[in-house]
Symmetry: C2
Subunit: 442 residues, 2 copies
């Protein structure tokens, strides 16, 4: 197959993903022509350090620290932004667009905060920003939402979108490890950063959720209004109680239609062992998307790592070459800068079943008080385990699962329960997420 | 959002999928404009009977039996072929292309047999055939292979692509039903046709496999050279033995690189309960695709039914409107009519672990003979269960699992075993499929 189009591209940032991207572009040029008809010429690798690039044996003559000269001297078709951070890439992308280049980026934090601004900036100039790599690594989830499911109203999406967290949780579930033990293991295997806070506190999952929610629902997501709980305070005892009850814990990034809007949150949640996301183990990611015509669809794969993420970066480059991505980017309605979509609704209005662990002093009347507070808030108890043998610091865990109730009511009840004189520690609560109903009915 | 493009389309065939397609086009026109910028005008519904169309309340003024007049009188952008069959749609599609219309079809049998001819016919005329709906119903699996994973060599694909079979197998596994009982249940629930042969004998899965194999590997698949075993001879006793050994049975449609080519087959296979396809239950479908950069990716959803399949049909219509599908169709290398891809390799050359059930007379020396035949063919035994209590018609089941061996050797051994004087029934053999290794290594 002959190339029908040639693209001149510059890569900015040469870490794990940048290095893998450069490798694909330089070493698999023929495969890319064969598969897409597009010949991609990498004209510069822009970075401040070239240690990783040298380890990979990338050609020194492409190395430069000076993006401005690259933009000025080459007539670039695409700038690939894999530098990370927020302010530098934000300015870089505008510069690239000003120079008439399309942009491909994997930067989820940037897009979650400034996607709307950047997408508008690109569209005003008739240019495209490709960002398949920003969510789900090698999983083509952005295309599924914007192209594959284009004939659908999206009703809901449920994602496991952080491999570090899923790896840690899998270790906690399968080996009974504590959070700190599992984190240390993950750091030892290179699956968690030395400073893991962006992953384990849920921020990274929330970035991806913000992007996917914008696309799927047309909602103008306010990032700071997404309630985010990470896995860093999750206790092994709750993981174990969950297993006893038939649940596994997953860090879920969830968005679904509610009360005329869309609610979105990131939290550790219990799901039944039969739930379609329960088998997603180790560093893998998966996103369930519920279309009103397709019903449940699910996309699974490696959500991070150099090669999988670079696969998504290169798919965007080629799709700019074939013209498919620009056509989608210019014409479809579901992008953060052009929607008057459903508003973001507080998770307080959401309803769920919940797991509660109350740590109470072993004194008469505790259960009666707890049950009465729950009842007064319209919350009914589905199951209750009070295990005397689990006495710890004079406190007994009372594990309750509730029937479906509203989160606002639950919070009110928990405030009252935690104020009881017999209450020892702050009550742990974890939503129990059932499979989303399919609107599909035929 | 305003439409930037209008398409005039005619629908041929108004059964389950055709009816659902017409409903989406007529009743959700605004949603489609909002999501794609494309306004689709349905100008005719061509069929021989309109019972279903009338049940759905589709507008009578669109009904016609005469496709030729429709083609002559309307300047159509797209003909949607949902008539079924082979020869009629084959001619219809050529007529439509001759009239300058793109084509969208869900017809897997037609494409498995004549895709190459039709794709070439379309390309010569600068036109596009969309066929997302031909594989996996509502799952955007064609786009995943041709677009999302475009930066990858595909190493393997493993599909559960027939919902009827997967439903029947799920019932056999979960309820211990026989094949006939489960089939009758499926027919009762509308999940199997009155004549289920195309589904249960594996032909439908093979059609889809042929299409996906062409796309994923560039192989010019000879349909009749795909070995196909259906589920219609599967016995409850083997399902039960499998469960005892930790396996569930699935009808797998598999293709992977082997000896410089690609081998493809459709068969009931045992997979471990931990295998990523094991949880795919009931009428759902899933396809695992292994890219050399992404590693394992998996796509799950409803593989049949009016609404999910119509979702894929409409996605193709809109992608023709935005221009993305024509760009892909004209320029990418991975389509059945333009490849000099790896050749199709006989499954005899494939290696696997196997489950064997030998039915032997309860006489001395049987085990020795069986073990000696297997050994002589280079096949080593991993486990063996001989259960006296399972005596049936004077025959005892000897259940063996083998280590990895070549299929050709196994067939030779089984011929010898079945010729033993103590051998009562033909030996059952089922491959045990382990998860495909990922080439991805970072």
């Amino acid at each position: 197959m002959k190339a029908h189009k040639t693209l001149r591209v510059a890569l900015v940032g040469c870490g794990t993903v940048g290095g893998a991207t450069a490798e694909i572009l330089l070493r698999e040029r023929d495969l890319l022509i064969e598969r897409s008809g597009v010949d991609v010429e990498l004209v510069a690798i822009v970075s401040l350090t070239f240690n990783h690039a040298r380890e990979l044996g990338l050609p020194e003559e492409l190395f430069t620290e000076d993006i401005d000269t690259v933009l000025a001297e080459h007539s670039l078709d695409i700038v690939i932004e894999l530098a990370g951070g927020i302010e530098f890439p934000r300015e870089l992308i505008k510069k690239a667009l000003d120079a008439g280049a399309h942009v491909v980026t994997a930067n989820k934090a940037l897009l979650a905060h400034h996607g709307k601004e950047l997408f508008a900036y690109a569209r005003e100039r008739g240019l495209t920003i490709g960002f398949e790599a920003s969510c789900g690594g090698g999983i083509p989830i952005i295309r599924a939402i914007t192209d594959g499911l284009v004939a659908n109203h999206i009703d809901a999406l449920y994602g496991i979108v952080n491999g570090t967290c899923n790896y840690i949780l899998t270790e906690m579930i399968e080996k009974g490890q504590s959070y700190s033990e599992a984190l240390a293991d993950a750091q030892g295997s290179g699956l968690a950063e030395a400073d893991p806070s962006l992953d384990v506190e849920g921020g990274d999952s929330a970035h991806k959720l913000a992007i996917m929610t914008s696309l799927a629902f047309g909602t103008d997501v306010e990032f700071d209004a997404i309630p985010v709980t990470g896995i860093n305070n999750l206790q092994a005892t709750d993981v174990a109680f969950g297993l006893e009850l038939g649940y596994v814990v997953k860090l879920l990034a969830v968005a679904y239609r509610l009360n005329g809007g869309v609610t979105a949150w990131v939290r550790p949640a219990f799901i039944s062992k039969e739930h379609p996301l329960a088998w997603v183990a180790g560093p893998f990611n998966a996103v369930s998307v519920y279309g009103h015509r397709t019903g449940h669809t699910l996309y699974y794969g490696r959500g991070a790592g150099g090669d999988p993420t670079a696969s998504a970066v290169v798919a965007d480059i080629l799709a700019i070459g074939t013209g498919t991505l620009p056509a989608t980017f210019q014409h479809t309605g579901y992008w953060p800068d052009r929607n008057a979509g459903p508003p973001q609704i507080s998770a307080d209005q959401a309803s769920s079943r919940y797991y509660l662990r109350i740590m109470a002093q072993d004194r008469p009347g505790v259960l009666a008080s707890v049950a009465s507070i729950l009842g007064a808030n319209g919350i009914s108890i589905a199951s209750l385990i009070q295990n005397e043998k689990a006495l710890r610091n004079e406190l007994i865990p009372v594990v309750i699962t509730t029937h479906v109730c509203q989160e606002a009511s639950l919070r009110k009840a928990l405030t009252a329960i935690d104020a009881l004189p017999q209450s020892g520690e702050r009550t742990v609560f974890i939503p129990i997420v059932d499979e989303h109903p399919e609107r599909w009915a035929r």
